[in-house]
Amino acid sequence: MQVSVNVNGMAYQRDVEEHWTLLRFLRDSIGLTGTKEGCNAGECGACTVDLDGQTVNSCMVLAVEVDGRQIRTIEGEADHGELSVIQAAFARQHAVQCGFCTGGMIMSVRDLLRRTPRPTVEEIKEGIEGNFCRCTGYEQIIEAVLDASDQLDTVGKGELKYV
């Protein structure tokens, strides 16, 4: 079946098999491997992408469903080699360890900040609840979101304390 999609501003036309997920399509057909497979069951969020302005687990969407639609992946986040505000905050706040969840995590944060430009810590936790991270314990990710939403000075952040 033929599918026409726009991914990160680029038009693609591809033949896909009916059972292929959007995740598989992005990785194996278009070659955008920044979107990761963590469970293939819609539970871990590593494959989160933006579909027509809404985040989805791309392992839960069939490729044939996205015909004619707009997709944004982590590869579309930096603009002409410049990190986005969210990405720069992730780098500054050490919100990355192994990096496998990071692409999907940033897509969820992007969606959160679009809906809620200055989220509370509780709202941040809710916004990234669907994205598992096994490395960081989430705290430095939450601080990165506070940083990206310009709230770090008011809310504050944790520091390593020397005793």
């Binding site: 098999e17 990785r27 955008l32 491997t33 920044g34 979107t35 990761k36 497979e37 963590g38 469970c39 293939n40 069951a41 539970e43 871990c44 590593a46 992946t73 982590i74 590869e75 986040e77 930096a78 990190l83 990405q87 992730f90 780098a91 500054r92 706040q93 050490h94 990355v96 360890q97 192994c98 990096g99 496998f100 969840c101 990071t102 692409g103 940033i106 941040i124 936790k125 809710e126 990234i128 609840e129 669907g130 994205n131 598992f132 991270c133 096994r134 490395c135 960081t136 314990g137 989430y138 705290e139 430095q140 990710i141 939450i142 944790g158 520091e159 390593l160 304390k161 020397y162 005793v163």
Partner: protein, 829 residues
């Protein structure tokens, strides 16, 4: 090693430098093994056993082999290779019998994943289903069915392990310190309890994945998501009987490991499929379900502790019995057993101690290394036990811990003398206690109790761990100067998220006195290019690779100074340098730049001298010894990292529901190399420890089938599950032989989170919890003094905690190892 930091500039060691490979990860540019395409690549799938224990009567692969697009089909009998590091007990595919649910019995390589999956469905396996051995307490009995009847034929590391052929005991480690009987004689109280925890999955976000090609002439290339490229190569070559220079292991970015990617996993199977498929590269990525049962987990533990204490609170004797449930294969569990044995008493001064630690085969998915290497498991029991002792003798638990802590002059279970340089467990404990206002409720907390009707409890737990590694573990680092004066470091320590590349770059920049921007640590590791490292495990990387890197920097500078002294017509001792150039100390205007020296200095007339600048650093753990097999005495520890957690919970006294409100942790890390990375390890480990404490664990049915191999039924913590307040603290007692005084802290934050929570719950409610994870119903039952529920194997006693009865019935092979109960023995109420 190298404890002074440069004064000429702002120190780089100790500064919060950004993660060196961070940009690649936040842009999606970082390439992991599963992202790679190799020309001609085929895809593999495996046929897995639905039974925990069965005889394979027949396997018919005819239909699968005939499917168009299938290039290779293998069963166990096609493969005459066994694999293992410590005990070589695992066939690549099950042969004749299956030993655990999910074990691979056949494999296919085909042109697409879909074809491989269809082919696997076409493989017909006939099984004779047998009753599995699931409970380690059954497995240890004389009449238990044998999981490995051929154990006597297995190779193993004889200096460290004692398998017992004809039984299910893959290893027995003994520790003998002091006079146990005399110690119990001296005791006024004897407290004995048994603590349990189930198997747990590591859950790296990236499941295991590898691509392997076996070309004509036995030239093998392995791309794999592994923690330890050289161990993959060593074990692969040993199993396949190939020379090391014909096998190349390449590891790009790794999406988390936590121990689960130590050793060797999918690589041998994929290599064999490639060989059959005429050298086509073969790829396989484990599904999440396969990650739970085809690949290994963390072993379950039953830990029985009997302690003698005087009324003044001093521990006089402790007898510890560990039953490690290895599952179907014990390659790593034997070493988890050994490492846990010499550490089993925690950071406490126990004058008379015995440990009998058994590694037992059962018919369950098998255990391997997992962050903490046994310590998360046994510290659950140990630190709950300390709490119960304190309660029994009516002493404050914090005071009781302080009284018995290791201090300079104490000796460990294996006889190592503790000095003031070893680290400071007391400071860790006191810092964590102070951070949670231990021992009292603040006005806010009083108000919280009054408002919610929930009870607040505070609990403490200590921890320690030394790297579990061979006594002669070695690492190397090579630093090469580019022609612009920048440098690249090659080492085989693998960046798996822990931040080692950043820490090593900081150490090198500090040592060279270069700006860190001039230092690159190669991301992709390649056994054809990197110098040797044993493994990326055990929190040993900072000390071993850090020291190797310091030595490599010194060697590079020595080589550069040698050439510079010729150029500047002076002796090296009269030279100094900065980040750009080497100059004469008393005539700074006489200089030569590193760029000029980097690939050989050229005089104005065209003469060249020197050649490309390279520095080599080799470091090996020194002074460590094997442990005596009868007594466990010896020196196994490169270093000890101490720590402590303080936890605040609130508990609903009616239902047992509870919430962890606050965690404060402190570790003696020797020297912080990068505070943000230390904090990242602290936070991440703590939350992984929270998962293990509250919700994670394998659940089986009575046939040994794993019931929860998914995120639906095996929850891990999400952002909503983290406590509202988390405090990370460090103490810096320099490690004399650590790089700038540093020691590892990758595993430690996960250890003892669970018992600190259990102790806080006990403080709030009196509930005496003996099993982790701690679920609300466990708390409710413990509050009511009811027999704990047990659904880890449904309707079997695993997970139960019947301590009084078990003293007489603990089915150890050698009953004489257990001292007879002391006269008038007391068991805490």
């Amino acid at each position: 090693m190298s404890d002074h930091l440069s004064t000429a500039q702002q120190p780089i060691v100790g500064a919060e430098h950004a993660r060196v490979e961070g940009i690649a990860k936040i842009t999606g540019d970082a390439i992991y093994t599963g992202d790679m395409l190799v020309p001609g690549m085929l895809h593999a799938k495996v046929k897995k056993s639905p039974h925990a224990r069965a005889r394979i009567v027949s396997i018919d692969t005819t239909k699968a082999a005939a499917l168009p697009g299938v290039h290779a089909v293998l069963t166990g009998h096609d493969l005459d290779y066994r694999v293992g590091l410590y005990i070589v007990d695992k066939d690549i595919l099950a042969k004749d019998s299956v030993r655990h649910f999910g074990e691979a019995v056949a494999a296919v390589a085909a042109e697409s994943v879909d074809t491989a999956a269809r082919a696997v469905e076409l493989i017909e396996v006939e099984y004779e289903v047998l009753t599995p051995v699931l409970d380690p307490r059954e497995a240890i009995k004389d009449d238990a069915p044998l999981v490995h009847p051929d154990m006597g034929d297995y190779q193993f590391v004889e200096a460290a392990f004692t398998p017992q052929p004809g039984t299910n005991v893959a290893n027995l480690t003994r520790m003998r310190k002091g006079d146990l009987e005399a110690g119990f004689e001296e005791a006024e109280w004897i407290i004995e309890r048994e603590y349990t925890n189930p198997s747990v999955q590591h859950v790296p976000m990236e499941t295991h994945v590898a691509i392997v090609e076996w070309k004509v002439g036995d030239q093998v290339t392995i791309w794999t998501s592994a923690q330890s490229p050289f161990t993959v190569r060593n074990l692969f070559c040993a199993a396949m009987r190939l020379p090391h220079n014909q096998v190349r292991v390449v590891v790009p970015h790794v999406g988390g490991g936590f121990g689960g990617k130590a050793g060797i996993h999918l690589e041998p199977l994929l290599a064999c499929l490639s060989k059959v498929a005429g050298g086509r590269p073969v790829r396989m990525q484990a599904t999440r379900e396969e990650e739970f049962s085809l690949l290994p987990c963390r072993s379950a533990l039953t830990y029985r502790i009997k302690t003698g204490v005087r009324s003044d609170g001093r521990i006089t004797a402790q007898h510890m019995t560990m039953l490690w449930d290895a599952g179907a294969y014990a390659d790593y569990a034997v070493n988890v057993t050994r490492a846990s044995s010499y550490s089993a008493g925690g950071p406490y001064d126990i004058p008379n101690a015995w440990v009998d630690a058994y590694t037992l085969y059962t018919n369950k998915p098998f255990g391997t290394a997992y962050r903490g290497f046994g310590h998360v498991e046994f510290f659950w029991g140990l630190e709950r036990h300390m709490e119960l002792i304190a309660e029994a003798i009516d002493m404050d638990p914090l005071e009781f811990r302080r009284l018995n802590l290791l201090r300079p002059g104490s000796t460990t279970l294996s006889g190592e003398l503790i000095t003031e340089h070893t680290g400071n467990p007391r400071k860790c404990l006191d810092a964590a206690a102070a951070a949670i206002n231990y021992g009292r409720l603040t006005p806010d907390e009083e108000e919280h109790q009054a408002r919610t009707g929930r009870r607040i409890g505070k609990g403490m737990a200590t921890l320690h761990k030394a790297p579990a590694m061979p006594s002669f573990t070695a690492s190397a680092s090579v630093i090469k100067m580019n022609s612009d004066g920048s440098v690249v470091i090659n080492m085989a320590l693998m960046e798996i998220g822990q931040g080692c590349n950043t820490a090593i770059a900081q150490i090198a920049a500090e040592r060279l006195r270069f700006p860190i921007e001039k230092v690159k640590v190669a991301v992709e590791k390649d056994t054809d290019k990197e110098p040797y490292d044993w493994q990326t495990v055990a929190s040993k990387g900072l000390i071993l690779s850090g020291n190797a890197t310091i030595l490599a920097c010194d060697n590079l500078l020595e080589n550069a100074y040698g050439v510079a002294s010729q150029v500047l017509r002076t002796i090296p001792a009269d030279l100094d340098h900065d980040g750009e150039k080497i100059f004469v100390k008393h005539r700074p205007e006489a200089f030569v730049t590193f760029a000029q020296l980097s690939i050989g200095y050229v005089f104005p007339n065209g003469n060249g001298i020197g050649g490309p600048l390279i520095g080599v650093g080799r470091y090996i753990a020194s002074g460590l010894t094997n442990l005596d097999k009868e007594t466990g005495q010896g020196l196994p520890a490169l270093d000890w990292t101490y720590g402590a957690h303080g936890v605040i919970v609130d508990v609903d006294p009616e239902t047992g529901e509870f919430e962890v409100l606050e965690i404060a942790s402190a570790y003696d890390v020797g020297k912080v190399i990068n505070p943000a990375i230390v904090r990242g390890q602290s936070l991440g480990g703590m939350i992984q420890g929270l998962g293990t404490a509250l919700c994670e664990g394998y659940i089986y049915d009575e046939q040994g089938r794993l019931l929860n191999p998914s995120f639906t039924d095996n929850k891990i913590p999400t952002a909503k599950d983290i406590p509202n307040k988390i405090t990370s603290m460090v103490i810096e007692t320099p490690q004399l032989d650590g790089p700038y005084g540093g020691r590892g802290v990758g595993e430690h934050p996960m250890i003892s989170v669970a018992p600190a929570i259990g102790n806080a719950i006990q403080n709030a409610t009196g509930a005496e919890l003996l099993h982790m994870p701690i679920r609300a119903e466990d708390v409710w039952r413990a509050m009511k003094d009811l027999e704990p529920i047990d659904n880890w194997i449904t309707k079997t006693p695993i997970g139960s905690c019947r301590s009084e009865k078990l003293g007489a019935h603990l089915p150890l092979q050698d009953e004489s190892l257990i001292p007879a109960p002391a006269e008038g023995e007391l068991v805490s109420h």
